[in-house]
């Protein structure tokens, strides 16, 4: 089972590596954090959750992982081309039993489900600062609403640099 397990691990870990590499840079990344976390979660979710269920959710925190009916059957999970080919070869050559073949699929299912569960429980997906900081991204300045800006004005109103700042003028500048 080691060879397909190595192939599977290699393919699965790369999902997390992409997330890590994106966030490890000199420039601030707070404005892409929410989207990155959602992307990571959805990337994992697409492996085990039915597409019809995923189409109806706006955030991965909305997925009810206790509902067994939303999951793809473990044997139908996409393991990666090389992993699946290796696993099938080992089965056809008699190196692994059908039970081990099924266990591998179940293991892959648990891999993605546990990862998704951990993301839902521990990642700051619902944090209001991270949620509203999308306006930091210059390229997406047209998308944020006033509520995104208002949060930061309220939170930082005591700061020295905010003294004398007129909120009405900020609104005017935002609308412009």
């Amino acid at each position: 089972m080691l060879e397909p397990a190595l192939f599977f691990s290699q393919a699965a870990i790369s999902i997390f590596t992409n997330f890590n590499l994106l966030l490890q840079r000199e420039e601030p990344t707070v404005h892409i954090l929410k989207a990155s976390m959602e992307h990571l979660g959805k990337n994992l979710a697409t492996r085990i959750i039915k597409p019809t269920v995923l189409r109806g959710i706006s955030s991965i925190s909305d997925i009810d992982l206790t509902d067994e009916s939303i999951f793809i059957e473990p044997k139908s999970i996409f393991l990666g081309g090389t992993t699946k080919a290796t696993l099938n070869r080992l089965l056809s050559e008699g190196d692994i039993s059908q039970h081990k073949y099924d266990s591998f699929h179940k293991g892959a299912y648990l891999y993605f489900k546990d990862a998704l569960q951990y993301i839902q429980n521990k990642f700051p997906i619902k944090n209001e600062v991270i949620h509203n900081s999308v306006w930091v991204d210059v390229e997406k300045r047209g998308k944020p609403t006033w509520s995104n800006i208002e949060l930061f004005l309220l939170k930082n109103s005591n700061q020295t640099c905010m003294e004398g700042v007129n909120n009405d003028k900020v609104i005017e500048e935002f609308v412009d």
Binding site: F16, F104, Y111, I119, K122, F123, N158
Partner: protein, 170 residues
């Protein structure tokens, strides 16, 4: 730089003390502190008596940003544990055992070189996986997969009573 030293250098109280001194020396009011970005240890972001909780006492509006990369690493580690339990093979353990099997033994490395030659592969050492180093598992698995024919041949042809060898030979 807020560096601390001594036996309690890693304690939240000591770390906060150094930061507070720096704030005072530079005359930075706590109101001007907008966020704190730290790693996810208890001393840093724990709910009570951590550096973060002390910052929040000074200014409740501070945004505490843990490290998302660290979270991704722990997520992958949890997922790997679930996978390993289901298939009774732990890729992380294999990487660690494989490195230490060859690490200190010139004789074993010599035998491995023979197997590399037999399998028509160039020699490359097994990489060391360190569980606290973010996702180093990917590099190690890639290396083992690259040299899989030679490594497999080695473990099938050699015989040792050692527990580590038996685990790798399974």
């Amino acid at each position: 730089m807020c560096l601390t030293e001594g036996e309690d250098a890693g304690k939240a109280s000591k770390l906060f003390e150094a930061m507070e001194e720096s704030f005072e020396a530079d005359e930075i009011p706590w109101n001007n502190c907008a966020s704190l970005s730290v790693d996810n240890t208890n001393a840093m972001v724990g709910k009570q008596t951590s550096v973060a909780s002390r910052f929040l006492q000074k200014n409740p509006n501070i945004f505490i940003g843990g490290c998302p990369c660290h979270l991704a690493h722990i997520t992958a580690s949890h997922a790997n544990d679930a996978f390993s339990n289901a298939i009774s093979t732990n890729v992380e353990d294999v990487c660690i055992h494989c490195f230490y099997w060859f690490d200190q033994s010139t004789k074993r490395k010599g035998k491995l070189v023979d197997h590399y030659k037999f399998c028509d592969q160039d020699y490359q050492s097994v990489l060391k996986h360190i569980s606290v180093r973010w996702l180093s598992l990917e590099r190690c698995t890639v290396r083992i997969l690259k040299k899989y024919p030679s490594l497999k041949a080695y473990f099938l042809n050699e015989h040792f009573a050692d527990e580590r060898f038996r685990r790798l030979n399974r």
